[in-house]
Symmetry: C2
Subunit: 458 residues, 2 copies
C-alpha cells in the first residue's frame, strides 16, 4: 500500500514536469528509483500520457538502465517501445537482454520485423533463436534459456571458479552449473554453494550430483512448475528427446507460470474462456464478450431442460402457488453446496492431495458432511416456514425433506464431477461453479416437485 | 503422471516386502530413490500402513537421509513421527533441520513437549526459538530464518569467500550475503555472483548494493510474496521496527505461501471458511461442516428475502403460471454473468492489474459487455420461447427484456461489489460467486416480476 502511494506521487511529479517540458528534471525524478520501480512508473505513464511521450522519456534514460527497465516491463509495453524506437536502439536492447526475455519479445513482434532484426545477427545465433521461437507457447522450451554455465568433469574446483568468474556475467544463473559428457548429454549438476565450500583442488566429477531431476523440452509448463514446487530448485535443466541438455529454466520464470496457471483455473471455474494473456482493462469489449458468451449460452441451454421440467408440473404448481416462493432458496442452496464441494475437490486435486483412487473416501466424507448440513438447514427452515411464513407443516415438510435430498445430491455431484472430468481427461476446473450450479438446479427442481407431488399431491 | 505411476509401484513393492517382514529389502527399495521421493513414499505408507509401522521403517533410514526426508514431509506427518520416536532421535532431527523448518515443527507440537525438547538447548538459542515461535502465523517473521551469511563491509572479496567457505554449511542460503553496521542495522546486500566474478582484492563496501528492498517482520506473508514476484529475488532481508536485520526469507518458502494464499482465495470464493491448513481428506466431518455451514446459512437467509419478494407476486403469478418455467434460466444466467465479472475483477485486483481508481473504466467496460451479451442471449431466447415453447410474443418479450436488464445488473454488481469490499477493507474474494449469486437472484426476481406486472399486468 505504501509503495503504491509513493509510486503514485512520483508519477504525478513526472507528469507535472513533463507538462512544463522539464525533461531533464523528469529524467532525474525517474532515476531516483530502482529499475523495477522505474518500470512500474513507465507502465503508469504509458496509460496516462500515451505511448509517444512515454517513449521520448524512456529514450532519455542511460543505456544500461533502459535495458534493465525494459526487461521488467510487461510484454505489451515492450512491444510498443520496440515499435517506437530506432533499429539501432532495438539492436542494443535485444543484445543486452537475457536470452529468454529476448525470445519473449521477438515472439510478440510481426514476422517481418523479426526478420529485419535478425538480419545482423550471426548465423549460428539466428538458428538458435529460430529454434527457440518455434517451441509451443506453454511448454518447457518456451521458458528456458541457453545461457547456463557448463563445466568439464575433470576440472578442479579452482579451475571451475575461475571459469565461472570469466563467463558468469552472461549467464542467466551461476548458482547451478552443468556438466555434460560427449554428445551434449547431461551428466551431472553442481551448485555454486558446493564449489564455494569445497577445497580448490577437488575434482568436479567427485562433487557433482548425478541423480539430478530434469524436464523434457516439450513438457507442459504446469508440470515444470510442479517440479519446482516439489524440490524447491533455483533452476532445472531441460533436455531433448535424446537426453541432450538444451537449456535451463530458472525459478523467477516459474513464478510467472504459477500466476498464469492460477488465473486460468480461476477463470475456467467462473466460466470465462480467456485466450489472451492481456490484462482485464486492455481486452476489448468484443473480446470480453467472446470470452464469456459461449459458456453463458451453454449454461442457458441447460435451463431449457430445467424450464421444461417445471412446465410438466405447471398445473399442480398453480394450485399450491406458495411452493414457488421456496424455489430460489432450494436452487440457490443446492448450487452453493455443490460449488463448495467442487472447489475443495478441484483444489485438492491441483495440489495432489486428492487422487482419483480416493474417490470412495471423498464421496463417503461428502455424504456425511452433506447429511449433517442438510439436517441443520432443514430444521431452521421448518421453524421459519411454519412460524414466520405461516404455512402448514405439510408444505414445510415438503420444502425441508427436499432440502436434505438436494444438499446431499449437490455435494455428491459437486465432488464427483471434477474427478470424473479428470478421469476422462477434461480439465476439472471447467466442471466448477457454473456447471455444477446448472446441474444442481435441475436436480433441485425435479426433487422439489416430485416431493410436492408425493406429499401434497399436486 | 509417469512419476505418479513409478511412485505407486515402489509403494506397493515396499508394502509387499514389509508384509513378508523383509525390512532390509524394504529399506533398500526406499533408498534407491532421492530424498524428495522417499518423503512422498513415506507419506503414502502413512496412509496405507498406519503410523506405527511406517515409523519403524523411517527409523531404519541412515540418520542423514532421515533428516532430509523429514524436512520434505508435510507438517502433520512430521508431528506424527516426532510423537513416535525417542527423545534422542527428536533432538538429532531438530538439530539437523534448518532453523525455519524446525520452528514450523515446534509450532505444531504441544507446549509441554516443546519445553521438554528445548530443555537441552543452550539458553541463547532457546531465547531465539521462543521469539520465532511467537510471531503470528501469517507474518514475515513466521517464514524467516536467522541462518544467513553476515559479512563485514571492510572485508576483501577473498576474505569474504573464505568466510563463506567456513560458515556456508549452516546457512539457509549463501547466494545473498548481508552487511550490517553497528547496532545490527542492515547496510547493504551483496550476491555470491558479484563476489565470484569480482577480483579478490576488491572491498565489499564498494561492491554491495545499498538500495536493497526489505520487508518488516510483521508484514503479511501475502505482501512478502508480492515483493518476491515483483523483483524475482532468491531471498529477502527481514528487519524489525528499528530497521535491525532479524532474518531472511528464501524463495522456496514463498512458493508454499503462494500456494496457501491461492487456496485461501479459491475457498473464500466458493464460500468455504478454512481455518486449518490440513488436507481435505484429513479434515474431520464435523470440521468440514463447520467450514461450510456458516456461509450456506448466511446465503440461505438472503433467500428468505427473495422468497418474500415472490410471495408478493403470488396471486398474479398463479394467473400466468408459465412465467415460473423461465425463473431458473433468468436467475441462473444472472448468477453466472455476475460471477464471471466478479472473478475477473477479483483476479485483476489480486494481480494489481485493476486498482480502485479504475472503477469507472471497469463499470464502463462491463456495461458495454453486458449489454451486448444481454442482447445476444435475449434474441436466441425470443425465438426459442415463441417457436419451441409456443408462448405468445408478449410473454417472450417479458422474459427477454428482463434478461437484458438482469445481465447488465448482474455484471455491474459482480464487478463493483469486490471493488467496494476492497475499499472498505474486506477481502474481495469473499464477495465472489455465492454472495453475488444471492444478490443477483434477488435482482432477477424483482426485475422479472416487475416487468411481468408492467407488460402482462399480473
Amino acid at each position: 500500500m505504501e509503495n503504491e502511494k509513493k509510486l503514485g506521487s512520483i508519477v504525478s511529479e513526472v507528469l507535472n514536469l513533463l507538462e512544463d517540458k522539464k525533461y531533464i528534471q523528469a529524467r532525474e525524478a525517474l532515476l531516483a528509483n530502482n529499475e523495477v520501480e522505474i518500470a512500474e512508473i513507465i507502465e503508469e505513464l504509458m496509460e496516462e500520457l500515451g505511448m509517444e511521450k512515454t517513449i521520448i522519456l524512456f529514450r532519455t534514460l542511460p543505456k544500461d538502465v533502459s535495458v534493465e527497465v525494459f526487461a521488467y516491463l510487461p510484454l505489451d509495453d515492450q512491444v510498443k517501445i520496440i515499435n517506437g524506437i530506432t533499429d539501432r536502439e532495438i539492436q542494443y536492447i535485444l543484445d543486452e537482454l537475457s536470452f529468454d526475455d529476448m525470445i519473449d519479445v521477438l515472439d510478440e513482434l510481426p514476422a517481418n520485423l523479426v526478420d529485419k532484426i535478425l538480419e545482423k545477427t550471426p548465423r549460428e545465433e539466428r538458428k538458435l533463436i529460430n529454434t527457440f521461437l518455434n517451441y509451443p507457447d506453454t511448454c518447457a522450451g518456451s521458458l528456458m534459456t541457453p545461457d547456463y554455465i557448463s563445466l568439464q568433469k575433470d576440472m578442479t574446483v579452482a579451475e571451475a571458479l575461475a571459469y565461472i568468474k570469466k563467463e558468469g556475467m552472461d549467464s542467466e544463473t551461476i548458482y547451478t552449473c552443468y556438466v555434460k559428457e560427449s554428445g551434449r548429454k547431461l551428466q551431472g549438476i553442481i551448485s555454486l554453494r558446493t564449489l564455494v565450500i569445497s577445497e580448490g583442488d577437488e575434482i568436479i566429477s567427485n562433487l557433482m550430483r548425478e541423480d539430478f531431476v530434469c524436464v523434457n523440452v516439450f513438457d507442459d509448463q504446469e508440470e515444470v512448475s510442479e517440479v519446482f514446487k516439489k524440490y524447491g530448485f533455483l533452476a532445472i535443466p531441460v533436455v531433448d528427446r535424446e537426453n541432450r541438455l538444451v537449456g535451463i529454466i530458472t525459478f523467477d520464470d516459474i513464478l510467472d507460470v504459477i500466476e498464469e496457471e492460477t488465473t486460468e483455473d480461476f477463470e475456467r471455474m467462473a466460466g470465462v474462456m480467456d485466450s489472451t494473456d492481456k490484462e482485464y482493462l486492455d481486452i476489448s469489449v468484443w473480446k470480453h464478450v467472446l470470452n464469456r458468451l459461449p459458456w453463458l449460452f451453454v449454461l442457458m441451454c441447460s435451463y431449457v431442460i430445467t424450464g421444461g421440467i417445471i412446465r410438466t408440473f405447471e398445473d399442480g404448481l398453480a394450485k399450491v402457488i406458495c411452493l414457488v416462493a421456496y424455489m430460489p432458496m432450494l436452487m440457490g442452496t443446492g448450487g452453493n453446496s455443490g460449488s463448495q464441494s467442487a472447489t475443495l475437490v478441484i483444489r485438492g486435486m491441483a495440489l495432489n492431495e486428492i487422487e482419483l483412487k480416493d474417490a470412495g473416501r471423498v464421496i463417503w466424507k461428502e455424504l456425511r458432511v452433506s447429511f449433517v448440513i442438510g439436517i441443520a438447514l432443514s430444521s431452521l427452515n421448518f421453524a421459519r416456514i411454519c412460524w414466520l411464513d405461516g404455512e402448514g407443516p405439510i408444505v414445510a415438510a415438503t420444502v425441508c425433506i427436499s432440502m436434505i435430498v438436494i444438499v446431499v445430491a449437490a455435494k455428491s455431484i459437486g465432488s464427483m464431477l471434477p474427478m470424473l472430468a479428470k478421469k476422462v481427461g477434461i480439465d476439472p476446473a471447467l466442471m466448477a461453479n457454473p456447471m455444477i450450479a446448472s446441474l444442481t438446479d435441475m436436480v433441485s427442481v425435479v426433487t422439489y416437485f416430485t416431493m410436492a407431488r408425493v406429499i401434497l399431491g399436486i
